[in-house]
């Protein structure tokens, strides 16, 4: 089957760079750019997504949303006074602990992201400071 082409744009992109690589400097420049992009953009976004995932898993495993949504539901659907009182009491006792764990782990992971972002800069400053101290 042969027919007129109606494609208008098929230029495509270059794999590494538009220019041919002739010297080591271009490679170092490209690699450094890629490293910085990976560390500060790609991985930071990845860590933020991970923070969302960690908090989702914590929320799910500690049943926080579920219990808040069903806060006034009696214990195991025993619709008697004891069931209501016991259910709410247990939730009042459990939820603060669960929320504390949730916040603690989420905060720890957030801290990790901050460390991640600061780590290369901090290391460079450390090296520079040591160099200046000689």
């Amino acid at each position: 089957m042969t027919q007129q082409n109606i494609l208008t744009n098929s230029q495509g992109q270059q794999l590494l760079d538009e220019s041919r690589v002739d010297n080591i400097l271009t490679i170092i420049k490209h690699t450094t750019k890629e490293f910085l992009n990976w560390w500060y953009v790609k991985m930071t976004v990845w860590h933020l997504r991970m923070l969302v995932r960690v908090s989702t898993i914590l929320d799910d495993n500690l049943s926080i949303s579920l219990l808040i949504k069903n806060f006034f539901l009696p214990w195991h659907r025993d619709f008697s006074l004891i069931g209501y009182v016991f259910g709410i009491l247990i939730k009042i006792l459990f939820l603060p602990i669960a929320i504390l764990i949730y916040l603690l782990f989420s905060f720890l992971y957030f801290l990790l992201i901050c460390i991640w972002v600061l780590l290369p800069i901090a290391t460079l400053i450390y090296i520079l400071k040591s160099l200046l101290g000689i």
């Binding site: 494609l7 208008t8 590494l16 090296i127």
Partner: protein, 905 residues
């Protein structure tokens, strides 16, 4: 019955000729395009992949250089890491106060140089981290190649590609580093060497594993035999790499892989070069099998990935957590006679519901409704009704269900458990009431009742329990969802009459899954079977299991028939000491079970078939045409070139009585199927009346066991479909019964009154008739009537008696010769030989003179009655006299006895 793998219509490959500005789709042979102005592309349903020459040139220029420098950086980073490690230890020791005693070390660790070295080492950790994780943290992922709708395909072919509707992706970005390595290593002086590329790829361990799994054993010798040389796999301009990458991309998309790996590259080469395809054919393999192996590997990889909850690239479904039970009711009593399906699927770790996506979706929509949330699965046994319920349980466990089904438990009702529990508590009604209250209150339970018919009062009475009457009202007015299963026959028998029950359930019909889905189910069991039996299962074994089960185990449905067959083959392999299970082994196991040759042409079976004609001619006198026709049909069946959806052969034997019509069928059953007793003989004179149709189909009125006689034709064929079925004197049957033959001859099956399908595709069907006998016998009495004239007249009479549509469906109508005196003499000889054989068992030798058979023939000959009078004559005169001599003691064991002429004359 070859498996439809479903590779078609997922991708479209084409090229754009820039010179002429034309577009051409590549449909059959895959060409290697080297002209720079030829731009290749690949389309999926939603994506458009392209690759350009500058991209290839860029890769070739840069990739190896970058790789080399990266390797050097990696080595330097590792070296620079070492001082950092020592300094870290030093910092620790200084902190602990150990270093104070070693002044030099203490001074060094406290110096700025140590700090600088430590900082540099830390930086190297970042570099190595980046080097190792950059591809893992952000892996490339090819989209899933969904089926392209036929309308879209048609539109592409007629009006061209509307580029704007596709997402444009660059194929080169999905090529992984090992594939780039292989391509760059085999491209020198702007030429790619396909021969060395293939050789390099072929020896890779992962490729060898694929070939092993596909049961392909290719050696250098096989390659050279199939002309796989540097001439047939030549060098091309580097621009040819575009074609190879696009074809490899096609393979990656079809096999649900995430990137283009070396295995896709080798598949592309196997697809492009005819000599390589030929080499695969000599190994009785194909690209399809290799693709299936790779798809299986991708599936296994994907399965592992799906379990990674902390991977943000993998979907996470909420499961409810530790307090999910708090918001649902207790089911203390119910737990005594129910099993938690959600827990069961966690323990069994199988994958359920494959091939039933539509049914699962239908079930989810029923369960998601506000009212009437009951569903009834209706289907043949073995089609996977329970598997769907388990599939739903698995999806609930993973959280991949709509909100209405979140955190639900599926409890399987155990009727025997309830009976046992009720005997303890002595109050069945009270127990059921409590359980039903629990069910209504729990709010997270879906009740699953397997074999739902057990709760119908009429069936319950047959089974001898009284639970149905108590339980049924609750089920009809349930406030909780119920899932039930029932097979067609029971549905028809018990549900038809109960309108209220039918109204309470939404029927979901479960069809037998496709062969390719059954294959995928077998694939999920491979690792478990290999562990259990300590064997290695090749893909041809799985494919054979599906194909053979579909063809020879029609009484059971896929997937259970195929699963059973592969398990039996694995068990056989273990006991026989076989470590690598192949397709031949599966055929062998089935062949042993069925007692007929199946699969590849076994030399022993072939010899048996070659000698069949000879053996039959020794036992049957004067009917060479009939023998020839039958043997030809069996040869066709043996080499698998016959139509698999029809009986092996359908024949009408026409001729006067005593010419050997029934005898030939018996001999055939004995010679081919192993025993004359395996022949099923149906006397059609028993089916003269219209009422006998039901009896013929295994009717209810003919009841003894399960509503029909255990020895009806239906039962006999079901228990032994590999046989000769003889319908004797078929012209005597009622015309409506003869109409049923149309279905048997055309489709190889018959539907019984209970809705069961009986398979005739492995049977030889022989009908006999005496129509036209008088005309045929005239040839004996009147010398002026030739055999051809008599035969033509008999055929005219046959056409008048039998409907043309039925007559037309016989493979052959064979007219049997009436026996002349010479035939009768040979028959006498045969019968005497049979008698001699029987006497040998008593150590008595029977002898007779040359004239004896002729004498018997002339004495017993009664024109029109064929060979039967001979049999009677020998019985009366020869056997009678021998018996007399034996009783009188004149002949004893070890003696010889000669047939006397006086016995005959």
């Amino acid at each position: 019955m070859a498996i439809e793998y479903g590779w078609q219509n997922r991708t479209v490959i084409g090229h754009h000729q820039k010179d002429s500005n034309t577009l051409e789709l590549i449909e059959k042979d895959l060409p290697i395009l080297t002209k720079e102005s030829d731009a290749l592309f690949l389309l999926t349903r939603d994506q458009f992949f392209s690759i350009s020459t500058p991209q290839i040139s860029n890769v070739l220029t840069n990739y190896l250089k970058y790789n080399r420098i990266n390797n050097q950086v990696r080595v330097i980073a590792n070296i620079l890491l070492m001082p950092g490690l020592f300094i870290a230890v030093g910092y620790l020791l200084r902190y602990l106060g150990v270093l104070e005693k070693i002044e030099i070390l203490n001074q060094f660790i406290s110096s700025n140089i140590a700090d600088i070295l430590f900082g540099v080492s830390i930086f190297n950790v970042f570099i190595l981290w980046y080097d190792y994780f950059k591809d893992k943290s952000h892996p490339v992922r090819l989209p899933k190649a969904q089926k392209i709708p036929l309308n879209d395909l048609e539109e592409i072919k007629t009006t061209g590609i509307k580029f704007g509707r596709y997402a444009h992706l660059e194929a080169i970005n999905f090529v992984n580093e090992y594939t780039l390595d292989a391509i760059c290593n085999n491209t020198k002086n702007e030429q790619i060497d396909t021969s060395s590329l293939f050789t390099e790829l072929f020896v890779l361990p992962e490729i060898q594993e694929i070939f092993r799994r596909a049961d392909i054993k290719i050696t250098e010798e096989i390659f050279s035999k199939n002309n796989v040389t540097k001439e047939t796999l030549p060098k091309y301009s580097y621009t040819a790499i575009r074609s190879i990458i696009i074809y490899a991309l096609n393979e990656a998309l079809l096999t649900s892989s995430t990137e283009i790996e070396p295995k896709h590259l080798i598949l592309a080469l196997l697809n492009v070069f005819p000599v390589l395809r030929q080499t695969l054919s000599t190994q009785r393999s194909s690209i399809d099998i290799l693709r299936e192996v790779i798809r299986y590997q991708s599936y296994e990889k994907d399965k592992l990935k799906r379990a990674q909850h902390f991977n943000p690239n993998v979907a996470y479904y909420r499961k409810g957590g530790i307090a999910k039970d708090w918001v649902y009711g207790y089911t203390y009593i119910l737990n005594h006679f129910t099993k938690n399906v959600n827990e069961q699927v966690i323990v069994e770790r199988d994958i359920y519901g494959i091939g039933h996506d539509d049914e699962i979706e239908a079930l989810i929509s029923v369960l998601g409704k506000v009212s009437n949330r009951n569903a009834l699965f209706v289907g043949e046994p073995g089609v996977g009704k329970s598997s769907i319920v388990m599939g739903i349980a698995q999806r609930i466990n993973s959280g991949d269900v709509p909100l209405q089904l979140k955190d639900k438990r599926i409890l399987k009702f155990d009727i025997n458990g309830l009976i046992a529990q009720s005997s303890k508590e002595q109050n069945l009604e009270g127990l059921v009431l409590k359980a039903m209250n629990e069910l209504e209150n729990a709010k997270d339970v879906i009740l699953y009742i397997d074999e739902m018919q057990e709760l119908i009062p009429s069936k319950a009475n047959e089974s001898g329990h009284s639970i149905a009457g108590i339980l049924l009202p609750y089920i009809l007015n349930s406030k909780f969802p119920i899932l039930g299963t029932v097979n067609y026959a029971d549905y028809k028998k018990y549900f038809y009459s109960m309108e209220s029950l039918r109204q309470a359930f939404t029927n979901i019909e479960i069809k037998e899954i496709s062969a390719v889905d059954a294959l995928q189910i077998l694939e999920t069991k491979v690792s478990q079977l290999e562990r259990n039996f300590n064997i290695y299962i090749t893909f041809p074994a799985l494919i054979s299991a599906v194909e053979l089960a579909q063809r020879y185990n029609k009484e059971r449905k896929l997937p259970s028939s195929a699963v059973q067959l592969i398990e039996e083959a694995c068990s056989w392999a273990q006991t026989s000491g076989v470590r690598l299970v192949t397709g031949e082994h599966v055929s062998k196991v089935l062949s042993n079970q069925k007692g007929i040759p199946i699969g590849s042409v076994d030399p022993q079976d072939s010899t048996k078939l070659m000698k069949l004609e000879e053996n039959m001619k020794r036992k049957i006198i004067g009917q060479e045409d009939a023998i020839q026709a039958l043997v030809e049909a069996l040869r066709r069946a043996h080499v698998d070139i016959r139509n698999p959806n029809k009986p092996i052969g359908t024949y009408l034997f026409l001729g006067p009585t005593g010419v050997g019509k029934t005898h030939i069928s018996k001999v055939l059953a004995e010679e081919y199927f192993g025993s004359a007793n395996s022949m099923i003989r149906v006397d059609m004179s028993e089916y003269k009346e219209i009422e006998s149709v039901e009896k013929f189909l295994g009717g209810v009125s003919d009841s003894s066991i399960l509503g029909r006689s255990s020895t009806s034709l239906v039962d006999k064929i079901k228990s032994n479909p590999y046989t000769v079925v003889l319908f004797d004197e078929m012209e005597k049957a009622h015309p409506q019964i003869l109409d049923l033959f149309l279905q048997i001859f055309d489709e190889g099956r018959l539907t019984s009154t209970l809705g069961e399908t009986v398979d005739f595709t492995h049977s030889i069907i022989i009908c006999t008739s005496n129509i036209g006998s008088l005309m045929l016998l005239e040839t004996l009495n009147d010398r002026n009537v030739t055999w051809q004239e008599a035969k033509d007249r008999a055929m005219i009479e046959l056409k008048q008696a039998i409907k043309p549509e039925l007559l037309n469906r016989y493979d052959k109508v064979l007219v049997f010769h009436p026996h002349d005196i010479q035939n009768l003499s040979q028959i006498s000889e045969l019968l005497l030989a049979e008698l001699a054989q029987r006497l040998t068992e008593k150590s008595i030798t029977l002898k007779w003179g040359n004239l004896i058979p002729q004498l018997i023939a002339s004495k017993a000959n009664d024109p029109g009655l064929g060979a039967r009078p001979i049999k009677r004559y020998i019985q009366d005169n020869i056997e009678g006299n021998i018996a007399k001599e034996m009783i009188e003691g004149r002949v004893t064991s070890g003696q010889e006895i000669t047939v006397k002429e006086s016995w005959i004359v």
